[in-house]
């Protein structure tokens, strides 16, 4: 049997929950420079199931938390709108949005969450991109914009249908939050920013809090009968079922938001004809592509049979032609759908749902159906 298991590198950075992961018997790996659990003793499939059935606790402290400040909210929002094709100006207090920073060429520099807290903006960036994001924000902003990387903050996600009931035992007010809303709350004596959001397609919360308080809160949460710790393995299969992109695989500087099927994240006011149309990096390219349609598109893919098709598998129009028409960017076994699932890019002619393409696996071409995303319907809690 030949395979490579990546051990934890000694130089890997630790999150505030490192000791807890080790105590819980996690298999640790290095991910984006951090020692993180890929799974605990129950294994990836059980952790996946548990999250969809009850509640999973995820350490996502490796992600970048960046605070951006200016003299006024208007000034701050205008500055950010030069870097992102989202509606920042219209963000209400405590509301958060999914969006992305774009490159000059119209690619995706990173996909991020932005949250308005008072007149400041908090940004959550991918671990692998946070240094680049902070540098980008600084080099493209006027001097009156302050960018602070919150290196002493932790981020913990609690995901799954039991999440609300669990957190209500700490503070009843979490009930009032709707999807993509955020509020500062006291959790048993610990001050935390709590938002109703996540990366699994389930109802759930993300807790941003001081690193020093993270271990206490995490232990209190996993002591609950409904909560199990969940590692990166299940995090990946859960987000894939939910049709959510992983930066570095499904989206990169080489993919545009339109190709990535993320047009829905660009609101009308930033599109051609909108009141604040364009004005962000790569706008001409992106908005033109939005109007004309991209030459390739990210789609959901369902390989026939039981063999998973992973990132890098090439897709063809039929069983014999030499030229590939696409490639898988994420793939694996979808535990909740009971079969292999994937996503990837295909030429526009093959992007319609129910089109059959062929994935080449170990020299053999096998049928793959183009399907709508997500594979598992989202269960987000809309506002009360």
């Amino acid at each position: 049997m030949t395979q490579t298991i990546t051990p934890t590198s000694l130089s890997a950075k630790q999150t505030p929950l490192f000791d807890l992961h080790c105590e819980l018997g996690a298999k640790m790996v290095t991910f984006a420079g951090y020692a993180l659990p890929v799974q605990y003793s129950k294994g990836v499939l059980e952790e996946h199931r548990h999250t969809r059935a009850q509640a999973g606790l995820f350490d996502v402290s490796h992600m970048g938390q960046i605070k951006i400040e200016a003299e006024s909210w208007t000034e701050l929002a205008h500055s950010l709108e030069k870097l992102m094709p989202q509606d920042i100006l219209g963000l209400r207090e405590g509301s958060q949005r999914y969006g992305f920073l774009t490159t000059d060429a119209g690619g995706i520099l990173d996909d991020v969450i932005v949250i308005r807290r008072g007149d400041t903006l908090w940004m959550v960036a991918n671990a692998s991109r946070k240094d680049i994001v902070a540098k980008h924000l600084r080099s493209h902003s006027e001097s009156n914009i302050a960018v602070t990387e919150l290196t002493d903050w932790a981020l913990i996600a609690l995901q799954g249908p039991a999440s609300e009931a669990v957190l209500r035992e700490f503070n009843q007010q979490v009930y009032e939050l709707g999807f993509m809303e955020s509020v500062a709350l006291d959790l048993g004596g610990v001050a935390a920013w709590i938002s109703r959001s996540g990366y699994t397609g389930e109802d759930g919360f993300e807790l941003s809090l001081a690193a020093t308080a993270a271990d206490t809160i995490a232990r209190a949460l996993i002591a609950h009968d409904s909560v199990a710790p969940v590692g990166l393995g299940a995090r990946d299969s859960l987000r894939l079922e939910a049709g959510l992109c992983l930066y570095g695989q499904d989206i990169t500087e080489e993919t545009t938001p339109i190709e990535a099927n993320l047009s829905w994240v660009i609101p009308k006011c930033r599109r051609n004809g909108g009141e604040r149309a364009g004005g962000f990096l790569g706008a001409e390219m992106i908005l033109n592509q939005l109007d004309m349609g991209p030459s390739r598109r990210r789609v959901g893919l369902r390989p026939e049979g039981r063999a998973p098709m992973r990132s890098g598998v090439r897709l063809y129009a039929n069983e014999h032609e030499d030229t590939a028409i696409g490639e898988i960017t994420s793939g694996g076994f979808g535990q909740s759908v009971g079969r292999p699932i994937a996503m990837g890019y295909v030429n526009r002619d093959y992007a319609q749902p129910n089109t059959t393409v062929y994935g080449e696996l170990r020299g053999r071409r096998q049928p793959v159906a183009v399907v709508r995303l997500p594979f598992v319907a989202a269960k987000y809690k809309r506002s009360n």
């Binding site: 298991i5 063999a307 076994f333």
Partner: protein, 119 residues
Amino acid sequence: MHYTEEHEWLREEAGTIIVGITTHAAEQLGDVVFVELPEIGSAVTKGESIAVIESVKAASDIEAPLDGEIVAVNEVLVDKPEVVNSDPTGEGWFFKITPSDPTQLSGYMDKAAYLEFIK
């Protein structure tokens, strides 16, 4: 029982050799979600990749540990790949080989040597 450095175990049974992966290998792989088996009747060469095992983490090749012919495969694994995790050295066997050169077996480790190998 014999063990290979590729973490396969080999057990002799009435002139054939049953092959599977070790408990250590199954633990390292994590949850197995797919197994592709060789064809019955196929002639295999020692070191040749003849089966595939996919876990939630990665795909791995299973090599033929001996020259010979595949005389049986464990069809249970096609629909229930998780048996590799629950019983790797029993119900989770992969295939049976009739070896053309049984002396090849002597090159493999015994249990004590394998346990030392994975330390």
